[in-house]
Amino acid sequence: MAEAVREFTAIGTRPIRPDGVEKVTGKANFGADFSLPGMLYGKVLRSPYAHARVKGIDLSEAKAMEGVFSVITSADFPKENPSDMSCNILAREKVLYHGHALAAVAARSQSIAEEAINSIKVEYEVLQPVLSADAALAEDAPLVDENLRTNGDESFMPSNVAATVHYERGDVDKGFEKADYIVEEEYRIPSAHQGYIEPHACVADVNEKGRASVWCCTQGAFEVRNYISEVLQKKISDIKVTPSEIGGGFGGKTVVYVEPVAVRLSELAGRPVKMVMNREEVFRATGPCSATVCRVKVGANKDGIITAAKAWMAYEAGAFPGSPVTPGCMSIFAPYDLKNFVIDGLDVLVNKPKVAAYRAPGAPQSMHAMESAVDELARKLNMDPIDLRLKNAADEGTEAPYGPKYPAIGLVECLKAAKVHPNYVNKPAKDVGRGVAVGFWFNIGMQSSAEIWVAPNGAVTIMEGSPDIGGSRASMCLMAAETLGIPYDSINAVIGDTESTGFCNLTGGSRTTFATGLAVVRACEDVIAECKRRAAMTWDLDTEQVDWENGFAVPRPGVNIEAEPLSFAELAKTAGRTGGPLVGRASVNAQGAGACFSVNWTDVTVDRDTGKVDVQAFTAVQDAGRAIHPSYVEGQMQGGAVQGIGWALNEEYIYDDNGVLENASFLDYRIPVASDVPMIDCQIVEVPNPSHPYGVRGVGETPIVAPLAATANAVREVLGFRINDLPMSPPRVLEALDNAS
């Protein structure tokens, strides 16, 4: 493909991120790296049962212990109308999963805190746990929440189904009548954990007037402020949250577990309190993603046109409502232009930790089902899997299954790029299987603010509020460099606390480069407007008579004046004399995030004697709209691919019959290690998003969606039959091989 003429100077380059040196030298401060004088250590008591009524808690010994400063239970939280989050953070009448927090202490040292925790006596009435969607949906199933009625409808009997979701279009029965080939299958996927390497951590310090300062690792400092305010019924203005560097989140750090607890402990102790979860607690008590059951039926005619599709899916929510079943339903058919479909989804309570978002929440599971079924259709039709998808692909103007018409999207472009990619054109060797799948994510916009501060030497500081999990500071600086027309190196980006920058929604939904990026561009434009005003003043012209070109104020063509262009640096230097420091600001509620599609394929081998799947090659093609910093776009694609491979092959929450998680460590919750995976080849496709000045689409979430089915389809190709359920771990593969022979 011919290299397009470069439209940009900064955008599309790959400079070193501004926070890089601190991160390779160990100077960057992450969640657990912050300390205060006189600080205490907080620790949590967790339930040993998956489902039990709490009959009594005896805190007396802990409270009397030397070195213990405060001890709390949910009784120390506001009593009225506790939110689900509050009940998740500290259990009330019932503990709802193994590891559910029940009490917390703050003590002078970690070991005293631990002793205090061990001294707390709890009397439980053990109840039968509900451990799967099947069990939860069974007649006479025990109830996780005796007061829960489906969709809040009081006319229903209490049940474990928190909500139902339904989408439909056209007439599926007629559609299936027109089908020459039909695939109908059920697919099951267990919970997986986000697996961020940094456990949740915070320090809270509440002063004598009740003002709380909190330092924590989070995807959104403003959300943490809201949550603390909600859970503790504290005024928002009494809470300041400073985000630390964050060691991964993938959706798991969009909610809080320890922060409100630390605030309450600090409030009662009159000292700062630090809380750091250990890895076991992270696995047991923070949100994994939903385990799911998906049933899909798809029909196509002889030409490969999908005539109808039907899906039913149950998503485990954990102990509180709120699985991502809705986005799961919305995404399952998103890549296709379908005339007839029905989608039904259930949000199901079980006695497991409350699920949290995990990268493209809901989509990997449902799309694994659809993309596996489409692969089977391609086999029946004897058609190349990319060709089949091209025949049905959604494009600009297609009505998305979830309602709106797509604006410009890049699915067709990705499929076409994949079809001619050398890694696809080269056919796999004998005994190597290839699998293809498509990925999708909606992306979101939401609110962001940004400020631009210009130093007298022309250096620029960007102040914004999106925690940087993957190099987003570099992208902000690149967009500012491009907009202002100044060198990347003269710009720094700072992530502010909740009192030093304007409101900003969390880093999630792949929104940061899009929405906060938009705010940064608008703030730069604000500075440019000011620069033009200052230049106009200097030249005694009207502002309208000044243009901004490549970092210089210049008289507009046709304006009759002898004036040397004024550089950004000169304007900055003289700002004191022309009206004071140069600053710009903007805030947005960004619309039109622009959906992101991908095509992935992988080549695998299977050891038929041990059932082990080996990933030989993996290629990801994805639409980025515009890649501001291509390396970090590739990084998202590669990281998501490997997470997806891990989920497809080995990652799973394994519970015993009592609902105790058996593999709460990185030794047995097997995320891929460096020697497990090959290089991940990437091709970025750019179909600019019309709603962003540089065409950005979010790229962070789509990458995890396609690898599940791509891997499953590749294994299907080698084995000659399909394994519907994930993970395709060696025992499962070997068992399937035995059954097949």
């Binding site: 991160k23 030298t25 100077k27 456990p199 750091v276 999990i469 460096a674």
Partner: protein, 161 residues
């Protein structure tokens, strides 16, 4: 409480600390010496975020008891760059955008440097297996491996020229 007196050398500096016997070297570095560059991802030897060199051997500092470090020479991520600036491994990790969140990076820096000190010309498989105890959840490892390969090339070029 019976604390243990530990004398050790950290990044070339002699240090003396009082510790509880069950504390780890990681706790000693982070809580007593305030060297928070070394991270705790698991505390059980599984993630490598706490990697340091102890008497020139790579270890998980979470699986070394503080008193065991008595008399030892410890090098942490804070001791990898010198007065000439960043180590090639650090520079290459930056150039290749081989960190996203960066919490695994200190462990990778120490482990990769140790590899290149021992084996200046590792192939991709060797690098991947050497670094298998360093988990990274963000990058999928691709850019980290390339950065280490590139660092090896650069080291070779500077030592042969």
């Amino acid at each position: 409480m019976s604390k243990v007196h530990v004398e050790l050398n950290v990044n070339g500096q002699p240090e003396e600390v009082l510790c509880e016997p069950q504390q780890s070297l990681l706790d000693l570095l982070r809580d007593e010496l305030h060297l928070t560059g070394t991270k705790e991802g698991c505390g059980t030897g599984d993630c490598g975020a706490c990697t340091v060199l102890m008497d020139e051997r790579l270890v998980c500092s979470c699986l070394v008891l503080a008193p065991e470090a008595n008399g030892k020479k410890v090098v942490t991520v804070e001791g990898i760059a010198d007065q000439n600036g960043l180590h090639v491994v650090q520079q290459k990790l930056l150039e290749h955008a081989a960190l996203q969140c960066g919490v695994c990076t200190p462990g990778f820096v120490v482990a990769a440097k140790a590899l290149l000190d021992k084996n200046p010309d590792p192939d991709e498989t060797t690098i991947r297996y050497w670094l298998a105890g360093n988990l990274c959840r963000c990058t999928g490892y691709d850019k980290i491996i390339r950065a280490v390969q590139d660092a090896a090339q650069e080291l070779k070029a500077t030592t042969t020229s």
